[in-house]
Amino acid sequence: MSIQENYLKNKKNIFFSENKDIQNHREKLINIFENDRFDKKNNESLKNINLKNFIDFKYKYLIPEETSVINNNQENSYSIVSVNGQCSNFKDDKIEITRILDKDYNDFSKNNSIENNDYFINLNSLFLNSGFKIIIKKNNNIKIKISNIITDDYLTIFQKNNYICEDGSSLNLIEEYENKNNSTSNILNVIKLEKNSQLNHFLIQDNSPNHNLIITSHSSCKKDSTYNQKVYNFSEGYVRNFHYSELIEPNSEADLQGIFFLKDDNTSNNKTFVKHLAEDCKSNQVYKGILNDRSKATYFSNTHVDQVAQKTEGYQLSKGILLSDNASYFSKPELKIYADDVKCSHGSTIGPIDENAIFYLRSRGMSKIAATKILISSFINEELSSIDNEQMSELIQKKLVRYLSKVK
């Protein structure tokens, strides 16, 4: 079924389809899809992916029967179960959580700068069927854990979430994706950090082989705010993690980290685009991958330093270990600098595991497989030991042990 047919058949179940402005906008998007008008040259949303799976899809969405639950189980700590991209409304003096409503179309309908030429963001804009808004109120320090659950096979979730951290607030957000069904989740997170706020965003991804997870996030940071993102991808299905970050006011910071563990024929596509638009801002990116069998990964990174963004610090680093001759990792870190007083660097090292290190460890009596596993663990040791949440650290370690048990 074509994208147009899918849309016309299901538009009643898609948000904002009665709104005239949005209707016009979607017609333009459909026109792009139907006439194959994507600029394919250097289009990172189309690289290293079998697009056929995402063009000839059958739209299917089920409104969850059971209301999702929010537990205020301890002070300043909340648990959200998001079912098929929806959750319950909740409000207290610290946070406010609301499902998407038709009246929210101004907040949710257009994806402006990030939509441009990104195939999956355009799909998300077209078929939006779920999502929520979370506001952390001024000067509150909050922890939220979101379990993302998909209830049925063959669902197509097009979800958009808005996060707003008001002045002086802090949010520790842990998102878990552990779905075992044949579905596709296309999720767009739009994150606004007001002055002096902070969001520590952890994403743990561990889906089954037939579950496609496409996550795009967009953060904008005002003065003295910080966005930290850490992604741990253990999924056996396709995962795309794209992040767009805008440092719009002075002394704001974006720290992005991604670690992925791939095997079999799995693919992980990663992209970052960080715009330094004010002075004294800092961005740091570390992406590390371990690839076995015939798995593939990409890391496209672009740090743009505007001419007003003096005293910028922007660092990019990607590293990969290829455990098989048939695994591949394509890395392309780029810096575009238009200011003259900056500290920026980029680097990338990808290769097989260090044979000299293996020999050294084996010469002390360790088996080859034990030496390989210890070297894989050491490769990501710095990132894993920096996790300050004990429960999450244990969870990641457990998943790492499971991954290592398959390394031969």
């Binding site: 020999f359 084996r362 010469s363 002390r364 009596g365 050491s378 040791n381 710095e382």
Partner: protein
């Protein structure tokens, strides 16, 4: 015979390195091999330890009655062979203490001995480190990472003292060491020397052999041993160089 090397020929990347090398080492003996750069000394050390980059063209090696070529790298270590590396590899993220603990237990397991528990191992490590003048803080660091040349060599000897090998191969352990560090390292080796273990010391210079007295000295040139004798040979080399043997 503890170690018996017969007519060993080895090549790497189409280049013949060892050419019919013979060497016998008995239990409790200290042998030194001296030779010019590129003569094959380190190749011999690596082949004994089991490095897989080399192609064995000919020859046999027996170690404690076993055909060495039947044992892989870790089995050789577990059987009591130890190579102190010329250039110890830095391994960031692998902490020294659990690494050494795992290494000693792999050997004990092969010998059907009881594994050493965490507490006993910590005590053993602390005591051995103290004997070698190694700061306890160093044991909290990653293997060889950020170590000075002297620290790396001292750490190799610490590993040797923990693993207590039957045959220790010291591959240019003196290279890059100042005189004080050389003394600490060689004192450590001398303390470990017993009638039950043997040493194969590879070096360019007599200086190391002033501190570790060898029973036999061999001159290696162009992939084979051309002269063997006592420590007087080392003095001869120090005086005249290797030229006359080439």
């Amino acid at each position: 015979m503890f170690l018996e090397i017969n007519d060993l020929s080895v090549k790497i990347e189409n280049k013949n390195i060892l050419k019919g090398l013979n060497l016998n080492i008995n239990k409790g003996e200290v042998h030194a091999i001296m030779g010019p750069n590129g003569c094959g000394k380190s190749t011999l050390a690596n082949v004994l330890a089991g490095k897989e980059d080399y192609e064995i063209l000919n020859g046999r090696i027996n170690f404690k009655g076993n055909n060495l070529f039947d044992l892989n790298i870790e089995e050789r270590a577990q059987e009591g062979m130890f190579l102190a590396f010329q250039y110890p590899v830095e391994i960031p993220g692998v902490n020294i203490t659990p690494f050494l603990h795992s290494a000693i237990n792999s050997k004990r397991k092969r010998m059907n001995e009881e594994e050493i528990d965490n507490l006993s191992f910590a005590k053993l490590l602390k005591s051995k480190a103290s004997d070698l003048g190694i700061n306890i803080d160093m044991l909290k660091r990653s293997v060889n990472t950020g170590f000075s040349g002297g620290e790396k060599k001292r750490y190799e000897i610490l590993q040797m003292s923990i693993l207590n090998p039957d045959l220790a191969i010291l591959d240019e352990t003196d290279s890059g060491l100042d005189i004080d560090a050389l003394k600490i390292v060689t004192d450590g080796v001398n303390k470990l020397k017993t009638k039950d273990n043997s040493y194969l010391i590879i070096t360019h210079y007599q200086k190391l052999l002033d501190y570790i007295k060898p029973d036999y000295v061999h001159i290696m040139v162009n992939g084979s041993i051309v002269k063997s004798g006592g420590s007087e040979i080392a003095a001869e080399i120090e005086k005249d160089g290797f030229q006359k043997f080439q």
